[in-house]
Symmetry: C2
DNA sequence: TTCATTAATATTGATATCAATGTATTTGTC
DNA sequence: GACAAATACATTGATATCAATATTAATGAA
């Protein structure tokens, strides 16, 4: 008896043309490259830019609030903070009110590094948004939010 | 003199609410988790599913055609093939017509593993697409394609 | 108060991602 | 045919991602 299994080529085309996970991963890779290129002169990746920007708050952030904002696993955040701490851009200190928790904040040099990159982010983002219908990403943002 | 740099909190809110790179990375993480969960019983991640499905072609694929399809760096593809080769799901052989190139193909057991996962992909994807306006992701796919 | 449970984070191991760089092969030009 | 340039892919090193699990601290119930 034969165990040969076939998958119709139409299935491949269906996945290629419709899979939202694939479409989003693909766009995520392409956008990451684009923003990484733009931010490279400032020593930041797109993810580090987003993470550090999320720490620019009046009061120090908890890890949980950041993982929720970034839809990121907690262990990923722990790892992502390491290189930023090493560079002296981010402070991670125990919360005196709850010593399990951590308080995350930008250092002055971290704030300076981030501030230097903001104009490039603005320019890169504006150029990107122009590629969308009506030069406006609102409906894309809305659709993406529905997937979370 | 003071070197203190400030970034207006409004800038943080602007990035948080509008950055397309951030929005897409966030959705990419969330969707990856969702599909990884669904595909875990079959020993596949979302990326491995997409990659293997892209190899279900009448003729063996070149690496270049796959990286273009997946908008993926060539070195990422080289790395991603390794665990699939180890499991005997994918064959990578030199192209006799051009010995720099590789021919990528699914093995019978790779095809079987992939075929087993297709129904779960369909169900997971259908549930996802329902969350979008009119239960249709065409508009989202179109917007994402504009970003590539 | 004790102790089981819950909560917040860290560690480990595997895969994913890409820049920088290296190697082998092919191609085009002379 | 020789050789410079271009092409296709691999390797290395750093960061990103998450599952599984461990650690530490706070909480709640008896």
């Amino acid at each position: 008896m034969s165990n040969a299994v076939e998958i119709p080529f139409e299935t491949t085309l269906l996945v290629r043309d419709t899979c939202l996970c694939l479409h989003v991963q693909r766009a995520a890779r392409a956008l990451a490259r684009r923003f990484d290129d733009a931010l490279r002169p400032f020593g930041l990746t797109n993810g580090q830019f987003s993470l550090m920007m999320s720490l620019n708050r009046p009061a120090p952030a908890s890890m949980g609030s950041v993982t929720a904002l970034l839809a990121m696993d907690q262990t990923t955040l722990t790892a992502a903070l390491k290189p930023l701490e090493r560079r002296g851009w981010v402070n991670v200190v125990p919360n005196p009110q709850d010593r399990r928790a951590r308080l995350l904040s930008l250092t002055p040099s971290g704030t300076a590094a981030l501030a230097a990159a903001v104009p490039i982010w603005k320019a890169t983002h504006a150029a990107l948004e122009e590629r969308l219908p009506d030069g406006n990403g609102d409906r894309l943002r809305s659709d993406l939010a529905n997937l979370l």
